[in-house]
Symmetry: D2
Subunit: 136 residues, 4 copies
Amino acid sequence: MASTFRTTRRVEFCDTDAAGIAHFGSFFDFMEQAEHELLRSRDLSVFMNDDTGIISWPRVAAKCEFQSSARFEDILDIEVSIARLGEKSITYAFRFRLEETDVASGEITSVCCRMTDQSPPEPIVIPQWFRDKLGA
Amino acid sequence: MASTFRTTRRVEFCDTDAAGIAHFGSFFDFMEQAEHELLRSRDLSVFMNDDTGIISWPRVAAKCEFQSSARFEDILDIEVSIARLGEKSITYAFRFRLEETDVASGEITSVCCRMTDQSPPEPIVIPQWFRDKLGA
Amino acid sequence: MASTFRTTRRVEFCDTDAAGIAHFGSFFDFMEQAEHELLRSRDLSVFMNDDTGIISWPRVAAKCEFQSSARFEDILDIEVSIARLGEKSITYAFRFRLEETDVASGEITSVCCRMTDQSPPEPIVIPQWFRDKLGA
Amino acid sequence: MASTFRTTRRVEFCDTDAAGIAHFGSFFDFMEQAEHELLRSRDLSVFMNDDTGIISWPRVAAKCEFQSSARFEDILDIEVSIARLGEKSITYAFRFRLEETDVASGEITSVCCRMTDQSPPEPIVIPQWFRDKLGA
């Protein structure tokens, strides 16, 4: 199973809201950015081509729980791990911390899909080469 | 118990992403906007003053599941209902549809808090006048 | 020349920042939304098809000056007019007001382009049918 | 006069739009982030305290011109310089490039203000200690 991936994200001014803290919706963007960073670290991307065309990863679920808050210019420590690896989907788990304080934890579930212009994304079995690179 | 509140939201260009659809993170903003609209419809707001100071509603949890997708200029039908009314918290449930097609469904849980400049938000029992106006 | 188009936009919570006001960047989204609304009011869109393919309107310039600020739940009055109509481009001018107070004024210049998958957008002369509908 | 400050910014998925490129509005957030990075590099911030209270920098103008476009995961090279240093305001100039290709160039003008809760921001002369640290 893949080890935990660690990254950081500074809270930018456009991430904040009038309550003076990072807007709860920003954490979903932070999770997505961390997921993409994990993929890049393993030479993968959410948009890839194989012989048949484009493979991408539409989200089917996302959630986040908030334990405390973060402010402008705080640097969040982010841990990403693979919580569940299915036949056709991956669930990533995220933990956000400011030093020793838990800020938020969440999950995103993405489905491996064949993308075409004409029809909706079609779920496919995650290719073996993707699993191998993911180390999962 | 409060009846279901209905509103609509047009998908704006800035809500879309390079997959050609409304970005999954936008739905969290759409849910928040619909929650605030429900409150306004009942002469309430997420920021209110009583004799003691400011009352607001920090989020402790948010989640969304996606059944299909929405595109630029689509007009989403949104249903908001109160899924759980606790002593100190409210969980709102949301359903997004395009005509007869389910697009997404989600929840936001907000905690009634006394806000101060000096310390973190302090959870309080939801005031009776708030419950009365909410009709819940 | 087209008459002034008027619309409104409520400042949503996700539009605000930790200074307690609508983030300056939000006004560029507000301008774009008002431009799209003007087009829809004239049965036009920023993405249209003619016999040859897709026509769209990439931005080449945008600017905004700020006279005062707007807060959460303020309803901005927005005026849109066509400041310059060129052979291949349109410059829209925007004024934002809260009752009698000037809040911001800006411009967006968009270029009429033939869109293709293979190459960058190619500027074209604005079709006569577009000008006719625009009333400009 | 301060030398040019250089930084980079990856285009994240939430920065893109349905035209498949970084949304024009994202560049205003990119400019603001680069401005804040420049300030941090000189041990300054857009929110600082002196003996009298909080000093901040509301924007009075922002503009951007677009020469080409950027896509998901592109890494933009950003140059920031101080275009004009007034008695009470600073105009920052920005250039965005992808390798040798010009992508966009813009400006933000910020006014040095004393911030209070009760009244609008009050423009003040930029303190000498701020100018000294800025090296401008």
